[in-house]
Amino acid sequence: MTQATADTAATTGSTVDDAEIAKFERLASEWWDPHGKFRPLHKFNPLRIGYIKDQLCLYFGRDAKSADALKGLRILDIGCGGGLLSEPMTRLGADVTGVDPSPVNIEVAGLHARQSGLAIDYRAATAEDLAAAGESFDVVLNMEVVEHVADVEAFVGACAAMVRPGGLMVVATINRTLKALGLAIIGVEYILRWLPRGTHRFDKLVRPEELQSALEAGGLQLIDETGVAYNPLTDRWSLSPDMDVNYMVLAERPKA
């Protein structure tokens, strides 16, 4: 399995951890079932889309109530999986490129987009592949990926290189704290079993200051950060000042 994945992905010199990709390939067909294995992501999706959209509208001066609020923005969705983020961004008017190192994910995402009548440029590639090809975007979305890569600094650097001057990067990930170990790994994977065991490894989680220094090394400046909290009683996610577990950050590449 690991061998096959490495062959198909064919990403020599990549910072993507092959074992991590293989785990998601096994799950690929489940992407679009809101009650299936990706239920937590479906649950979380409205909140992260809301954050991305509000921040983009604020930054680029768009009307958040408009049906095509993101019209014309060129957006890269890194680790797009089955397209849970790429499709909404496309419906809001953006020109979306979705990349995922897993060809199975790209197959699933492409099929679903065609069924939904959405034109999305999906590519089985890594962020590093695109960066090497000199691609540039208004917005790079880096959601729930950095905790799965082998080298955070190199990966974030490659992503940052694709943000045009005056453009944005949004990152969502999980903090490396004991609280995160208890809630996001033991709670979610072992007690609630929302995610398969082994989805997240504690030593791969990323602290906000580590992320910030990686972003700055890539020439980006942090302009917003927020915690994300889950309320088990209402079964709802919301923005929170507490960044101990899940959090999101917004960074810009200043205009030259």
């Binding site: 809101p34 009650h35 409205p46 959209k53 909404p88 496309t90 809001l92 679903h112």
Partner: protein, 413 residues
């Protein structure tokens, strides 16, 4: 067939108050959404039609705010009678003097009545005109014959032979919802051994905006103020008695009505036909499935004891419109079951709670047991002496219980 299919975003089956209000709310908030309403009758009714619906409905303050936010209230206001206060009595039919156990001062906010009585036909006409002006497509007379839910869309076959592909199908097709049955959604239901007789009366003296509910042994007898010296009567009787009354001549009917109405507003005369409605309670077990949402009476029909049926329907409308518009503005699939589940969570508990409450009220009051009567009178008396509890009761009656959707707070989506 599929080659000729038209594409719409949302198809609403049923052009009653709930279906039309939903179509209007969706188009107002999201003018890019393609919304179609399908109904077997002419939508909104025609003036000069045969008798038609003579009923009037109590529009609670929250529902009124929604109608105002949707720009419909001004078209209804001239025919709307504010309910300034509400009285509840517990009596035997022959009691000459009925002690008032509960009085409600109706103001929700300074100068705002807690409800208005509005003729159904006026409300329906205003909603239909506003929906049309907002660009809602009306297909009538026609019907949804069958539908197929696919992962990415719902395929809807019309009785006229056409096919529509949509992202979301809304069943607003009433108590005996055909779409609910087609979807295989089960219901919990029970019938009451009672029927409601609905009619209008004219009286000598003005009602001054008082709504009166007499809890008589056979069931509640409600007097609800209409414009002028007129009131709407909702009169509950055992089924056999109700059938007899509906068939009796005007003299007998009026005499029986006066016995219950009392002489408070002077002499009475009948002002409209009598209509009979069997009473029951139907609650859908699920309000949503993938690409399907039940709305209004299709989701729930409750005993009209507290006058909450239409208002529950409007709460559905406000919650569904807000859920769909929020999802639409996030670029989410508006027919996805996880999106629709937010609406279900929002509405199902509230509806079941209301259903159970009105059922308990009915069982408690439609009763001749003297012990029970004494107990409920003490209960009502206590409620009357506790301002906090009373204002909660008024709040519930006005539709402000639970987490209110934006439209019910009078806010735009």
């Amino acid at each position: 067939m599929t080659g000729k299919a038209r594409h719409r975003d949302i198809v609403i089956a049923g052009g009653g108050t709930a279906g039309l209000a939903a179509a209007l709310a969706l188009r107002k908030a999201a003018p890019d959404l393609a919304v179609t309403v399908v109904d077997i009758r002419v939508i909104g009714g025609k003036s000069g039609d045969a008798p038609g619906d003579q009923r009037a409905s109590a529009i609670a303050a929250a529902a009124q705010r929604m109608l105002a936010a949707l720009g419909v209230w001004t078209a209804v206001a001239a025919e709307a009678q504010p309910i300034i206060s509400m009285e509840v009595t517990d009596s035997k039919t022959g009691d000459a003097v009925r002690p008032v156990f509960l009085t409600f001062d109706g103001s929700v906010e300074e100068g705002e009545p807690f409800a208005h009585m509005v003729p159904n036909s006026v409300l329906l006409g205003a909603l239909a005109r506003a929906a049309k002006a907002a660009g809602v497509e009306m297909i009538a007379p026609d019907s949804v014959d069958r539908f197929d839910v696919l992962p990415e869309r719902v395929e809807i076959d019309l009785g006229s032979g056409g096919t529509i592909h949509a992202r979301l199908l809304v069943a607003a097709d009433g108590v005996r919802s055909r779409l609910r049955a087609l979807a295989g959604i089960k219901t919990s239901s029970w019938r009451y051994p009672q029927m409601a007789i609905v009619t209008n009366v004219r009286h000598e003296r003005p009602h001054e905006g008082v709504a009166i509910e007499h809890f008589l042994p056979a069931g509640p007898f409600a007097i609800l103020p209409l414009t002028g010296n007129r009131s709407s009567i909702v009169w509950t009787e055992q089924v056999d008695d109700a059938r007899r009354l509906l068939k009796s001549d005007d003299f007998v009917f009026l005499t029986e009505l006066e016995r219950r109405f009392g002489h408070r507003f002077g002499g009475l005369e009948l002002d409209g036909p009598r209509q009979g409605y069997p009473l029951g309670l139907i609650l859908a077990r699920d309000f949503v499935q993938s690409r399907l949402a039940l709305l209004g009476d299709a989701a729930h029909a409750i005993h009209p004891i507290a006058g909450q049926g239409l208002n529950l329907g409007f709460r559905d409308v406000a919650a569904l419109a807000e859920t769909v518009v929020d999802a639409y503005r996030l670029g989410l699939d508006i027919g996805a079951v996880d999106v629709l589940e937010r609406y279900q969570t929002w509405r199902r508990f509230d509806t079941w709670q209301m259903g159970v409450t009105t059922d308990v009220l009915n069982r408690l009051f439609s009763n001749r047991n003297p012990v029970l009567r004494a107990a409920r009178d003490i209960g009502l008396g206590l409620v009357d002496r506790m301002p906090g509890l009373k204002s909660r009761f008024i709040g519930e009656a006005a539709g402000f219980g639970g987490e209110l959707p934006k439209l019910m707070r009078g806010e735009a989506l």
